[in-house]
């Protein structure tokens, strides 16, 4: 495979995926996927349902076995087991939130704290950053859905990650919550953290992301700026099911 260059204007590479192939039995979930996310960059990974977006996250997180390809995080091979991810400076949210129902809001965030002398205080700080510190003592299940999403985000951010993987962060949120999320992601990226997000909300992705990668049937069909991707006929075809005729 020819060596791929880093995107123009990008800083140090936080995530580099080359030739990633994942198979589930006879089904090729991902085929030869290349992906780069540099520091301070927000990259959106979009595609129709079943395109393989979450499988990319699972492969990077060590939750699925790769059949081929390499994944490097900050120049080093990605940890093989998910528990090594946090120490490698990677945090991830889950599509199903992945909250711990038996724990309070603060405890849910405290679980993500790495090596702080006062993990409870650090968790409260992270909750305060997202404006829900007053909910700290409540059982996490007592919160409304948008606030539960904030708890999941706070747990990811509390470890001060250098690479943040967000799985459908805007799913189930209203316009005001999405605007708030947009501001948080921009703030996080401004600190140098690289952000890769899987999202169905195309308007949110197009307004927030520096680059957008489009997957269809496990292959990358477009990779570029939001405007370039929006104009790409292959993307329209993938989303609307229209066959692209050769011009």
């Amino acid at each position: 495979m020819p060596e791929r260059e880093a995107p123009a204007g990008a800083g140090a590479m936080r995530l580099q995926v080359r030739g990633l192939t994942v198979r589930f039995g006879g089904l090729a979930a991902l085929t030869d996927v290349d992906l780069d996310v540099a520091e301070s960059q927000v990259v959106g990974l979009i595609g129709p349902n079943g395109a393989g977006k979450t499988t990319v996250f699972n492969a990077v997180s060590g939750l699925v076995r790769t059949a081929a390809g390499t994944i490097t995080v900050a120049g080093r091979p990605a940890p093989r087991a998910p528990q090594g991810l946090a120490r490698a400076g990677v945090a991830r949210t889950l599509q199903g939130l992945g909250l711990f129902p038996g724990l309070s809001v603060r405890e849910n965030v405290e679980v993500g704290v790495l090596g702080a002398s006062d993990p409870a205080a650090r968790a409260l700080e992270a909750l305060d950053d997202l404006g829900i510190a007053d909910r700290a003592a409540l059982p996490v299940g007592a919160l409304p859905y948008p606030e539960q999403k904030k708890v999941a985000l706070a747990r990811a951010l509390v470890a001060d990650p250098r690479l943040l993987l967000l799985d459908e962060p805007a799913g189930g949120l209203g316009a005001a919550d999405i605007a708030e999320l947009d501001a948080v992601v921009r703030r996080v990226a401004a600190t140098g953290c690289a952000v890769l997000l899987v999202e169905h909300h195309v308007d949110f992705v197009m307004s927030l992301c520096d680059r957008v990668v489009v997957l269809d049937f496990g292959r990358v069909i477009a990779d570029g700026t939001p405007d370039a991707v929006r104009r790409d006929p292959a993307v329209t075809a993938a989303y609307l099911g229209i066959e692209v005729t050769a011009s």
Binding site: A81, V111, P119
Partner: protein, 366 residues
Amino acid sequence: MSARRTLLLGLGGLILAIGLTFLLDPYRNYQLALVAAYLCATAGLTVLVGLSGQLSLGHAALMAAGGYGFALTSQALTSAGVGGLPRFLAATVAAAVVAGVLGLLLGLAGARLHGPYLAGLTLTLVVAVPAVAASVGALQGDRGVQMQFEGVPGPLRALIALEQWQAWVALAVAAVAVTGLALVRDGRTGLRMRAVRDDEVAAALAGIAPARVKVLAFVVSSVTAGLGGAVLTFVTQSVSPGAYTVSLSLLLLVAVVVGGLGSLLGAALGAVLLVLLPWLVGTVTDMLPLPSQVTQRIDGTLPLLVFGLLLIVLVACAPGGLAGALTAARARRRARRRLTAPAPTTAPPSPTAPAPRESARTPTEG
């Protein structure tokens, strides 16, 4: 709860319990010592099942391992001329180590198993351990290992009876075990256990190694079960395979559920029930005008039936067990007090029920 407060509570509880022994007759002190022995096991089991989410039907086997470890070490030290407190401490440590090693092996296997498979593995252990103990010559078969008589130490001999002394020792060991478990529960390890119990994948993504946490939970729980076995051996002055059967394992689990899963107070209530229920049932049946043959027969089985009924009633009416019911009652009392108190000037934020909002989704999404 801070570690200092936990330690102070442990010490305070021990002093109170020792004070209680002065109010009890020798038989009640013997029963109190049994409660303390079972408490070591139920407290460890409630941490394992309630906090780390792993089911064990084999805690009687872990108690047996502790009991044999205690008895054999004690015998060996007696032969070597060691006696008194050093012998007791060394034998207790040996009991904890033997049970801990067995728990480590179980935990290593258990980390790869879930639900009924793990329960099956632990059930196999509790069937196998007494059978092996009964057939190994060094463990003296069905008769078990008899301990040499451990009397009250010299300076106390004139002041307290043997049963009271045994209760003191049993309570001290139980206080150490329960305080240790409380420290684990309230610390980072306890938080990790609960996270792994709720969602292993999310816990792993937060940097926790689920397998390590699960094995640690098994080891901690086994060590305290081993201490329970040591105390039981110390009190009864013998250890035999017949005392650690499947039914004891099941009773320990039922006691933990009835007391309140995951609660150390619940474990204590469960241990009290384990000891007092057979006695209470026996007292009631003795009062009934029944032939002695019938009384003898039902004395052995009726407590199990009552325990089972209690379990069904509690699961239906108070799923949090006795400890959960007490906590709920306390919360209701506090709420009533708040209602009668003058209203605050600013209302605290009240959470609403979780209700996912409709997303502004594009037609591209399914």
